[in-house]
C-alpha cells in the first residue's frame, strides 16, 4: 500500500494521468450524452483524487516553508476546488422561458417561491442598423409584492439571492415583444469563485524563484 501511494503521488504518474485525461476529454466530445458525462466525471474524479493525494503527501514532508511552496499549495488547492465545482456543474439545470410583455411565469416547480414578470422588452440599435443590445425589464413577485425589479440585457443578468435571470433571445410578437429568458440557480458558484481566487493568489507565490 505504501509502495502504491509513493508511486501514485510521483510527478511522473500525475503527468501520465493528466495526459490520459486530456485524451479522454477529447474523445468525450464525440460520445453520446451519457458516455460524455461518465467520462468527464471519471477524469475529474481521477485528477482530483490524484491531486489531493499529492498535496497531502507533500504536506507531510519536512521541507522548509517558503513563499513559493505556499504558492504551489494554494494553486493546487484551487484546482481541487474548481474540480469539485466542475463535478457539481455537470448536472446543474437551466430553464428557458419565453414571455411576452406583461406576461408572468411562476417559478414554484423550479424551487423558487416567486414569479417572474416581464414588464417591457426593447431593443437598441447601432448607427448602421444592427442590434446593439436587447433589454427586458423584469420583476420578481412574491404574493403580489414586488421583491426586485431590474432591466436586464445580454451580459448583465439579474441576480437575486440564489436566482439568476439572463437575457437570451428576442422575438417580435403580434401583441408585444417576446423575450427569451434563461433562469438558473447560482448554487455552486461560490466554490468555483474561491477556486479561481486560489489560482490567482497561488500564481503570485509561484512566480518566486526556486
Amino acid at each position: 500500500m505504501e509502495h502504491f501511494l509513493k508511486r501514485f503521488t510521483a510527478i511522473s504518474t500525475s503527468m501520465l494521468i493528466l495526459a490520459i485525461c486530456s485524451f479522454l476529454l477529447l474523445i468525450a466530445i464525440y460520445l453520446p450524452e451519457k458516455g460524455t458525462l461518465l467520462v468527464r466525471a471519471f477524469c475529474l474524479s481521477l485528477l482530483g483524487i490524484n491531486l489531493l493525494a499529492c498535496i497531502l503527501k507533500r504536506l507531510g514532508t519536512r521541507n522548509k516553508w517558503s513563499l513559493r511552496r505556499i504558492g504551489i499549495l494554494v494553486f493546487h488547492t484551487g484546482i481541487i476546488l474548481l474540480i469539485i465545482a466542475l463535478l457539481y456543474n455537470l448536472q446543474t439545470e437551466k430553464t428557458y422561458v419565453e414571455l411576452a410583455e406583461d406576461q408572468a411565469r411562476n417559478l414554484k416547480q423550479m424551487g423558487y417561491p416567486v414569479s417572474l414578470k416581464v414588464e417591457r422588452v426593447r431593443l437598441e440599435f447601432h448607427p448602421g442598423g444592427s442590434v446593439k443590445q436587447y433589454y427586458t425589464r423584469v420583476s420578481l413577485i412574491e404574493n403580489g409584492q414586488v421583491l426586485k425589479q431590474a432591466e436586464i440585457s445580454v451580459n448583465h443578468p439579474l441576480v437575486y439571492k440564489g436566482l439568476k435571470v439572463y437575457q437570451t433571445a428576442f422575438k417580435p410578437g403580434t401583441t408585444g415583444n417576446i423575450s427569451g429568458l434563461t433562469i438558473k440557480s447560482s448554487q455552486g458558484l461560490e466554490i468555483a469563485g474561491l477556486g479561481a481566487l486560489f489560482l490567482l493568489t497561488g500564481s503570485v507565490g509561484l512566480a518566486r524563484r526556486r
Binding site: 510521483a10 493528466l18 460524455t36 442590434v131 446593439k132 445580454v154 451580459n155 439568476k164
Partner: protein
C-alpha cells in the same frame, strides 16, 4: 488605414526571408536585417491597429482578420522586448514565418470594421483576449526556441550558438502559463455573465483546457524525473500545436459557442 497593416504584412514577409537567408548562409548580417525589418513591421502594425481600434472604439480583436494581426503584433512585442535580454533574436527564424502565415490566414477573413453583437460587449471579453494574446505569444516563443533546439542538434550553427534554447523555451512557457490560466478564468467569468454557464465543455473550452494541461505537463517535466532535453522540446512543440488547434482548428472543424472567431 488598413493599407498600413497590408504594408506591415510585406515587411514581415521580407523579414521572414531575411531570417531564412541568415540560416542558410549562416550570416549574422542577414539576421540583423531580419530584426530591423521585424521592428519596422511592428511599428507600422502598431499604427494600423491603433487607428483601427480608435475608429471602432474598442480593442481590434473581434474578427479573424483583427485577431490574427493583433496576435502577430503580440508575438513581435514579446520577441522584441525579450530579444535583448535573452538573446532571443535567433527565434525570429521560426517566429517571422509563423507571423506571415498567421497574417496571411487573417487576410482571408472579412476586413471591414463591424459593430459588436450584444454578447461580445463585455469588459471581461476584452481582458480575455488580451490574456490570450499574451499567453499565445509567449507560447509561440517557447515553441520557436524548442524548434531551434531540435534543429540545432542536427546542425551546429553560428547564429544559434550564443543562446540557450532549452532555457528560453522553459522561461517563455513558465511566463505564459499564468496568462493561460487567466484566459480560462476570464473566459469562465464572461461565460457566466452572458450565458449563465461558466463551463460548458464546448470544443474550444475543452481544447483550451487541454492546452493548459500540456503546458502543465511541460513545466512539471523540469522537476522530478530526468527527462531528455529532446523529449521536453517535443512537449513544447505539442503545446503550441494545441494552441494553434484551439485557435484555428476548432473554429474550422467543430462549431460551438466560440463561433465569433
Amino acid at each position: 488605414m488598413d493599407n498600413i497593416l497590408f504594408i506591415a504584412f510585406f515587411f514581415y514577409l521580407a523579414g521572414a526571408i531575411a531570417f531564412m537567408a541568415s540560416y542558410w548562409f549562416d550570416s549574422v548580417r542577414s539576421m540583423r536585417a531580419g530584426v530591423f525589418l521585424l521592428t519596422a513591421a511592428f511599428s507600422l502594425q502598431t499604427l494600423g491597429l491603433m487607428s483601427r481600434g480608435l475608429a471602432a472604439g474598442r480593442l481590434p480583436s473581434s474578427s479573424l482578420y483583427e485577431f490574427m494581426f493583433l496576435f502577430s503584433w503580440g508575438i513581435s512585442l514579446i520577441y522584441l522586448l525579450a530579444g535583448q535580454r535573452y538573446r532571443f533574436q535567433a527565434t525570429g527564424l521560426v517566429v517571422a514565418p509563423l507571423q506571415v502565415i498567421l497574417m496571411a490566414y487573417g487576410l482571408t477573413g472579412l476586413q471591414e470594421v463591424k459593430p459588436l453583437v450584444p454578447a461580445l460587449q463585455s469588459v471581461w471579453l476584452q481582458i480575455h483576449v488580451v490574456m490570450a494574446i499574451s499567453a499565445y505569444s509567449l507560447f509561440a516563443l517557447s515553441f520557436a526556441s524548442a524548434l531551434l533546439f531540435l534543429f540545432n542538434v542536427k546542425r551546429q550553427n553560428k547564429l544559434l550558438s550564443n543562446f540557450n534554447p532549452e532555457k528560453t523555451s522553459y522561461q517563455a512557457a513558465a511566463w505564459g502559463f499564468p496568462f493561460m490560466t487567466l484566459v480560462l478564468l476570464t473566459g469562465a467569468i464572461w461565460a457566466e455573465q452572458v450565458w449563465g454557464a461558466w463551463w460548458t465543455w464546448d470544443p474550444k473550452e475543452t481544447w483550451a483546457l487541454i492546452t493548459w494541461f500540456i503546458y502543465a505537463i511541460y513545466l512539471h517535466l523540469y522537476r522530478g524525473q530526468p527527462w531528455t532535453a529532446r523529449a521536453k522540446a517535443w512537449v513544447a512543440v505539442a503545446g503550441f500545436a494545441a494552441v494553434m488547434f484551439t485557435l484555428l482548428g476548432v473554429s474550422l472543424l467543430m462549431p460551438g459557442v466560440h463561433s465569433y472567431l
